[in-house]
Symmetry: C2
Subunit: 180 residues, 2 copies
């Protein structure tokens, strides 16, 4: 069974995005990527909106800014959960439309190693409801947004997690790793 | 100048209380008290609503449950910010009504050592606006509330903090310590 983990940035006040979907307050992506989403990741899963932002990694600017990450993002099989089919306009992408839960359950039993989800709050809440996420890597950034959308908005009940470990980054962000 | 620090529990999704002021999801109070609010604390500051909960510590039940903390809470000078004067019904309490900011500024220049604020979100937001809090000890609990009131609700703008250190507790809570 393949492991699925979530990598998600939040502000100290628990928002995964500030007002108007603003995520410019997060600065720890590269460090976190190296720390958490290591070499064993051979699949990436996104919600549609996050995917549209991730398409940045196919551009020449991304190639110049962080060539290793860009190469990884281009080469790694990507899965996008979407209500409707759409043209992904990128290599190595499978659009999971229709019954996303069944598609992810199938993905989990397919051959391969670890699958990482970056962001994609709404998708995560659905997957949590079906116990399909094995690890939560939450990066608490040293910033208070004051307003925004709370982590796991839409989760219908209080959910306890088990802390496995934590680590500080140079940026002042702290990664907290939990299991269900 | 006396140092003022804040000790505040939050859920992983950034709520200092769940719906209907429920804080029963936090379990790290005693550990955190020992870790953060050490022997140097010789003053406590609360908002009125938090103070009403803190009055638990004057009861025989508190005395039995955690005699050291109860003794500390009874003996330590307590200051309560309140819009209106009221009868505190506890020893060593000063009610700061009227201009709370001026009263806290005066408290900061009075003789003594460190002053701890426990909880009291609304008071904290006012004090942050006037740069009166020197340290933030935020305890991230291993629980997702799904709904509640966000940390520092009412803060009018994005605010960056500087991480000083972090520590894990047995309970799975993590204390993150920031300076402004």
């Amino acid at each position: 069974m393949r492991k699925i983990f979530l990598l998600m940035n939040v502000s100290l006040d628990g928002f995964f995005e500030a007002s108007e979907h603003d995520i410019s307050g997060f600065k720890s992506d590269f460090e976190a990527f190296s720390a958490g989403a290591g070499g064993e990741v051979d699949g990436l899963l996104f919600g549609h909106r996050t995917y549209e932002m991730m398409k940045f990694w196919r551009t020449p600017e991304a190639q110049q800014m962080a060539p290793q990450i860009a190469a990884f993002m281009n080469a790694t099989p990507k899965y996008v959960a979407s209500h409707q089919p759409f043209d992904p306009e990128w290599d190595n992408v499978t659009v999971l439309s229709g019954d996303v839960i069944a598609a992810v359950q199938q993905l989990k039993t397919s051959s391969g190693s670890t699958i990482g989800i970056f962001g994609s709050n709404q998708l995560c809440v659905s997957l949590m409801h079906h116990k399909l996420i094995d690890e939560f890597q939450i990066i608490v950034n040293p910033v208070v947004f004051g307003a925004g959308t709370a982590l796991f908005t839409g989760l219908p009940q209080k959910t306890e997690l088990t802390l496995k470990t934590s680590r500080q980054f140079q940026s002042g962000a702290v990664m907290l790793i939990y299991h269900p």
